[in-house]
């Protein structure tokens, strides 16, 4: 084959941009020609991938497909709706070389929302895009640009409003305990209980401690954690009182941070905050159930407008695959 998967992906991206420009400019013949090229490239990409890995034959163009501009392409394969259990999937484990083609390739096949779902399922608490990306890089061997997450929540909201509960889960908002408005920059999973998605004034700390515990537990299950995972744990450990520093208590045999120490220290602090935080969250969750409709319970009350033109552009790129995936199920 002439081109590698990565080169093909670059070419596909460039072609899609070309198609979009041509369509927007009203240049039909050019758009048609570019679409033909695009389909060739996509087929070549499928073929390249199939030969690269026979077991991960399920291809998925849903994450980046453009059903709006590429309506004629009915051949786009649909990825089976597999729910991934994060701890069960371990590209960084002994079977796979961390960071090498196989792990990366497989990760890239997942739509962005599923990557976010993987990371959030590991953390088990609402998290900011930056942490989600770090966790995904540390445990699923793939980093993604956080900028793409800015529009994800809005796309999910749009999808939910057009066909409520059509998907098994939605990436939704965490709600502030006072106004039940979407909490700035935090993403959550719709299947979590409402209490977990409420952010009171102690919740940021509680959520941090819970995510520190979950990251530590996840690291324990990995025989050889990648450097990114260890870096994440040591950053967390440095900010949990009693889990780092004095006497090297937290360091295991290889001079590494002992996850158990982090877990114990985080749990100790968690006990101090848990009751007050739980009270706030339960109260706000009750209010949310009483006062808000389904969509508001997931995406928050109050009006949020896009803040910049950049967001709008993202919206186009990520918005369409969202709808397509919803329709495909």
């Amino acid at each position: 084959m002439d081109e590698t998967v990565e080169e093909l992906e670059e070419r596909i991206t460039a072609l899609r941009a070309g198609v979009r420009r041509a369509v927007l400019d009203g240049d039909g013949p050019l758009a048609g020609a570019l679409r033909r090229d695009l389909r060739h490239a996509e087929r070549a990409w499928d073929a390249a991938l199939d030969s690269a890995s026979t077991d991960s034959a399920s291809t998925d163009s849903a994450s980046t497909a453009w059903p709006g501009t590429d309506a004629g392409d009915a051949a786009a394969p649909v990825r089976p709706g597999v729910m991934h259990v994060p701890s069960a999937r371990d590209p960084a484990g002994p079977g796979a070389e961390p960071g090498l083609g196989d792990g990366r390739g497989r990760g890239a096949l997942l739509p962005l929302r599923e990557q976010v779902h993987e990371a959030l399922s590991l953390l088990q608490v609402p998290a900011a895009p930056r942490l989600i990306a770090t966790v995904h890089e540390a445990f699923f061997a793939l980093a993604f640009p956080t900028a793409r997450l800015t529009s994800l929540r809005r796309d999910e909201e749009r999808s939910f409003r057009s066909a409520p509960f059509a998907r098994p889960y939605y990436i939704c908002a965490a709600l502030s305990a006072d106004y039940l408005a979407p909490s700035r920059g935090l993403l959550a999973i719709s299947t979590w209980p409402a209490e977990r998605r409420i952010i009171g004034s102690l919740s940021p700390r509680v959520d941090f401690l819970v995510s520190a515990i979950n990251v530590a537990r996840a690291i324990e299950q990995v025989p050889e954690p990648v450097p990114a995972a260890r870096a994440l744990l040591s950053r967390f450990a440095a900010n949990v009182r009693g889990s780092s520093g004095a006497g090297g208590r937290s360091f295991g045999p290889a001079g590494r941070i002992d996850p158990q120490v982090v877990i114990r220290a985080a749990q100790a602090e968690l006990e101090v905050h848990a009751e007050e935080d739980q009270r706030t969250r339960a109260g706000a969750a009750r209010r949310a159930r009483d006062q808000l409709d389904d969509a508001q319970q997931l995406f928050g009350a109050g009006i949020r407008r896009p803040r910049s033109g950049e967001d709008d552009e993202d919206e186009d790129e990520d918005g369409r695959p969202g709808r397509k995936a919803a329709g495909g199920r």
Binding site: R205, R241, G302
Partner: protein, 403 residues
């Protein structure tokens, strides 16, 4: 009182002309506190004139305060310390303020249910912060405060305000200049100290407005968070800003007397660019430069780091041979003598007419300095009394030291 206030407002509005008023922020107050004698900056800031625009229109654009790299660096560092429930910041505050383990609350006051309207945010901040003694809270991110300067309210946003169990608030500043081996860039620290003093005063005002004892509740020690050494690891230091509080109070009192500065200026003076419908200025640049020149400035090389008008003022000061061009130290040593040429004439006893009484002391000092220099140079075989300007500065320093 009311009538006078309106007159001043009208006068300032005329000075500003058709431009949109620029907001008054902590940086402006800090810059003015650094050079309190500058009437030009006082007037331009009080009139909320967009100095950057004026400066570039009259041919002296200042690439000042605009480095996108520095701004990106600062916001990245801020985001880092406030990430994950402000985990890094909380660890630092526990260390420097001795917070209890249970004090880990974090409230984001950056918007009110998604609304970022300033008036609304200020009201929300006031409501939350004044209720803190009853309800619990530790870290308040992006509070919006209000400060009355030169007859108008300026909205100010400290990086964070921390509340401690002994019922005191501490202003927290996050800056991206590093502390290397325990030493930070002194001008950066000085600016941060002045700015946090402004925040302390604004916060005290807010609490006092709700009938609380603001002076006692807002601590004069503020927390400065900076990167340590050459890494991104944050470190917190306490800054005692009592001196800066006094400076800012004095400054603000002066600014409220901006009418005294405006009074001697021509009544039809304006810094208007006379923009047309499309925002293209129609005023002659030379004309605007003359208008700016009407208000006396007090230039010193320090202005280059703090004021958008700096290049214009520097050009003007070197044309006039102002002593300020040689630095604040020289200007102060020469007390009262405004130009270098005058100082040299006084030193050589060539002044036109007798020395005026207010310059008598300064004249004695420069003469003695010139004599000492002459003696020193005579030993080296140089010609006395014809030193270059920087040399004159050096000798005068020696002279004052000897007297």
């Amino acid at each position: 009182m009311d009538g006078g206030f309106t007159d001043i407002e009208a006068r300032l509005a005329r000075l500003r002309g058709g431009q949109l008023p620029e907001t008054y922020d902590a940086r402006k107050i800090a810059a003015l506190a650094g050079n309190p004698g500058c009437r030009r900056r006082s007037v331009l800031d009080a009139a909320a004139v967009e100095k950057r625009r004026v400066a570039s229109y009259i041919g002296f654009p200042a690439p000042f305060g605009q480095s996108p790299f520095a701004m990106a660096r600062e916001s990245a560092f801020q985001a880092q310390v406030k990430d994950n429930g402000a985990m890094e910041l909380l660890a630092l505050l526990r260390e420097v303020l001795g917070l209890d383990l249970a004090e880990a609350h974090y409230d984001d006051l950056g918007d009110v249910a998604g609304n970022v309207n300033q008036g609304l945010r200020y009201a929300h901040t006031r409501q939350v912060l004044t209720a803190v003694p009853q309800r619990r809270g530790t870290m308040f991110d992006h509070p919006l405060l209000r400060f009355r300067v030169a007859g108008r309210h300026a909205y100010l946003q400290p990086d964070l305000v921390a509340f401690r169990h002994d019922a005191t608030f501490h202003v927290v500043m996050v800056r991206s200049f590093p502390v290397i081996d325990g030493q930070a860039d002194s001008s950066g620290v000085a600016a941060a100290a002045i700015q946090s003093a402004v925040f302390v005063l604004a916060l005290r005002d807010l609490l006092a407005g709700a009938g609380l004892d603001g002076d006692a509740m807002v601590h004069h020690e503020t927390v400065l968070v900076t990167p340590r050494d050459f890494a991104n690891q944050p470190v917190a230091s306490l800054l005692d800003v009592r001196k800066q509080l006094a400076t800012v109070r004095r400054q603000v009192a002066r600014m409220d007397r901006v009418e005294d500065i405006i009074a001697p200026l021509p009544g039809d003076l304006t810094f208007d660019l006379d923009a047309d419908d499309k925002g293209v200025p129609r005023r002659r640049p030379g004309d605007l430069a003359d208008a700016v020149g009407c208000v006396p400035a007090s230039y010193s090389p320090e202005c280059l780091g703090a004021c958008e008008m700096c290049f214009f003022c520097r050009e003007e000061a070197s044309e006039h041979g102002d002593t300020g061009v040689l630095g604040k130290a020289v200007r102060e040593d020469l007390g009262g003598i405004e130009s270098v040429a005058r100082a040299l004439r006084l030193a050589r006893g060539q002044g036109p007419g007798p020395v005026p009484p207010d310059l008598a002391e300064a004249a004695t000092i420069v003469r003695r300095a010139a004599r000492l220099r002459g003696e020193a140079m005579a030993g080296d075989g140089a010609v006395p009394g014809h030193g270059a300007v920087p040399g004159a500065g050096t000798v005068i320093n020696e002279g004052t030291g000897a007297s």
